[in-house]
């Protein structure tokens, strides 16, 4: 668990300067920030308003995935839409049934938006705002009409639907409503449309949060700018969705691109970094040969090169060296990986160190471990490149 928490701390630390958390909390909105580059796409920040509405403490939420707030009556198609938005790195605003810690469900307007790094257009975080939807009645189509009638209202009917000035009061009432109302049961099953006011509130919150993030990323400490739109094309980097897919694979592996000069590494798993002792920025862009050293048998390296040339899989035992110059026997498997065009797009290299004993746990033999990583990578690369041609 510890390395995970470390990564979560880093998630904010490398992007934003100190004081960002306090500034975010000052906004008073309910929101979460998640990091797709960390395995499991976990929550890295939860605002106090969020914790209050949902009834969780910070520790119960940080490091978890957002699906923890879904439950049996959450509409599956809505969940699919959110998953798709993440995959396509797009913003989405959708009504969703969420569950609080005590198990009670409630409707909220969920507005999610990717946060891009200006320097390379990569998605560095996802920002999700929650605006509780106040249930006026079963038919929410003409809120103004209902307002005039004054009938069919539940506890919060006193709230003026159209006036901005009472937004504060509205929010307070919203919290009260959620925490106290018993009339909710009957209506949970009915799909719920957010009012214009609620939608605007969500959009405003998003915009405010992005401003804070942008402000705190401009300082020299981190040197990275963030903004709310994709400012430039993501170059060599793989998209957020591939990061999320690859993040699920626990083993040590790298992805190399044969179409770029000297076939550099374009992705390295956390386990690879742990095994070799390098940091991510020290390996991306380099050819794998830096792992070989003095006593590495060149015939093995030649064999690898041959297989790559012929686009065939190969398995070898090769002596490799860590950053600290210690050596280890690398039971290595390399395989070509095709994307949706049907052509070879990458090679995947899976490393099993004989001195590393953590992989035997699952019960798969080392050879099977190799293949399972290859399989998972192939599915991810093929699927995630399928939509590329249409965009």
């Amino acid at each position: 668990m510890e390395p995970q928490l470390g990564l979560i701390e880093q998630s904010f630390h490398v992007r934003y300067s100190d004081g960002v958390r306090e500034a975010l909390d000052e906004l008073g909105d309910s929101f979460l920030i998640t990091d797709p580059s960390i395995s499991g796409h976990p929550i890295v920040f939860a605002s106090s308003a969020f914790l209050k509405i949902f009834g969780y403490s910070k520790d119960q939420v940080i490091g978890k995935n957002g699906r923890m707030f879904q439950g049996p009556k959450t509409n599956r198609r809505s969940v699919l839409e959110i998953r798709e938005a993440i995959r396509q790195e797009k913003a989405i605003q959708i009504s969703l049934l969420n569950y609080r810690k005590d198990g009670t469900p409630f409707w909220m307007l969920f507005h999610m938006c990717p946060v891009f790094a200006k320097e390379d257009g990569r998605v560095v975080h996802f920002l999700g705002v929650q605006v509780p939807i106040l249930r006026k009645s079963r038919v929410v189509r003409n809120p103004s009409k209902l307002c005039e009638d004054g009938t069919g209202f539940l506890g919060c009917c006193r709230r003026e639907v159209t006036s901005d000035s009472v937004m504060e009061v509205g929010r307070g009432l919203a919290l009260d409503y959620l925490l106290n109302s018993d009339d909710r049961e009957l209506e949970i099953d009915q799909p719920c449309e957010a009012s214009e006011l609620e939608k605007r509130k969500a959009a405003t919150a998003i915009s405010n949060i992005l401003s804070v993030l942008a402000h705190y990323s401009e300082s020299e400490v981190t040197g990275r700018l963030v903004c709310g739109k994709a400012c430039c094309l993501s170059g060599m980097g793989l998209g957020a969705s591939i990061n999320i897919s690859f993040g699920r694979i626990k083993q040590s592996f790298v992805l190399t691109d044969p179409h770029l000069h000297d076939m550099p590494i374009v992705y390295a798993s956390d386990a690879f970094l742990k095994l070799t002792g390098y940091a991510r920025h020290e390996v991306l862009g380099r050819n794998c040969r830096f792992l070989s050293g003095l006593d590495t048998v060149s015939a093995t390296q030649f064999e690898i090169a041959e297989c790559i040339r012929n686009e065939r899989p190969c398995t070898v035992h090769i002596l490799n060296y860590r950053k600290d110059k210690t050596s280890f026997w690398n039971f290595l498997h390399i395989s070509p990986v095709r994307n949706a065009t049907g052509k070879v797009a990458y090679f995947v290299g899976v490393q099993i160190s004989s001195s590393c004993n953590s992989q035997g746990k699952q019960g798969l033999s080392p050879a099977m471990e190799h293949l399972s990583v290859v399989g998972a990578v192939k599915v991810a690369v093929r699927s995630l490149s399928i939509g590329a041609s249409t965009s």
Binding site: K64, G71, R338, V374, G375, A380, R382
Partner: protein
Amino acid sequence: MLRIKRVPTVVSNYQKEEAEEGAARQGGGCGRNCLMNCCLPGAKLPLYRFKRLNEVANEKVGLSRENKEPPVPFLESLLLGEWEGRMQRGLFRYDVTACETKVIPGEYGFIAQLNEGRHLKKRPTEFRVDKVLQPFDETKFNFTKVGQEEILFQFEPGDEVQFLPSALIDTENSPSVVAINVSPIEYGHVLLIPQILNCLPQSIDHDSLLLALYMAAEARSPYFRLGYNSLGAFATINHLHFQAYYLAVPFPIEKAPSKKITTTKGGVQISELLKYPVRGLVFEGGNTLKDLSNVVADSCICLQETNIPYNVLISDSGKRIFLFPQCYAEKQALGEVSAELLDTQVNPAVWEISGHMVLKQKKDYEEASEENAWRLLAEVSLSEERFQEVKALIFEAISSSIEEIDSVNPSVLEKPDVTHQALEDVDTLNKGSQRTMVSV
């Protein structure tokens, strides 16, 4: 008797055309390691045990799972690893990842694949299409005739999750197994064969559907879907099996809106698909996996007993199940399908109906459009009137499971005012309704 000619999909390297089935192998060693009595004793395969849930409300796999995104779950590692191993051994007829595939621009994002090798060198054979329930025929190809190398692992329930890399096949209590499909539609395409040694015919029952749901839930990926084709709805082999594969994009059918009809006593929500070329029902929720499974199984059994061909898609890790009755094969047999559509040689089974089209010709692939896909699928669908009749049949069959409160919206059970793009086909409606009155 209605028949059509089509090229059967080869799902096993041991599946021979009928003409090639020379002298039947009556006992006596067959010389290879199949699953019949000649080779089975002493045979071993990996065994994956999934945890059978206590059927207590709220103890569904989804809620008992920890809240973090699970790492690639073990079942997925096992399945993909074994599959990749078979790939490297050359057991598949072609490399499906070398087949170009794309999402067709449009609202729904139909997925098209250019696969020229799937049905190459195969002669069309005759299939009877007007009988959904047919008895198991030993002389025909069935899965006990496949080589053991095509079986990836046994898939069985247990009290705890367990994996044994090598376990004796229990011939007394026939295991269920997962086998490769040697003509895959996508990476990881497998067949789930419930109780393989019991030689069950292609027809859904409560136990087998529950097994399929368990597999979907155990895989824990919304992109691992299971599908079922009844006879008459393009099942190739009359030996009970489901298909499954991974594709990490949403299927068009999963994006289609639906209109809730009712909730059963077991908490299963039944809805009608809207704005989709094929009419169908969607089942979701349920207090337990078994509740969901039972309602769907009851519905399928109803269709089987009234001789209506159908397909089932299990998606969203077993949380959403789509059921569509269809009539394409019947239309084909009656010569009612246009030559243009027949030319594409697309047999609209569960994957095609869900929005994943495998095209055999480059021309069709390049010209693939949402319109074309829609037009093809509209031919597969029952007409609005016929669908309402079938829906009523199903609801009658499951009436004991439905809550009695007015959660059943009566107007939805009659002809709703739903806009659709399907072609009205009154003639087919008449013929269809005559035929189904004949019980099997």
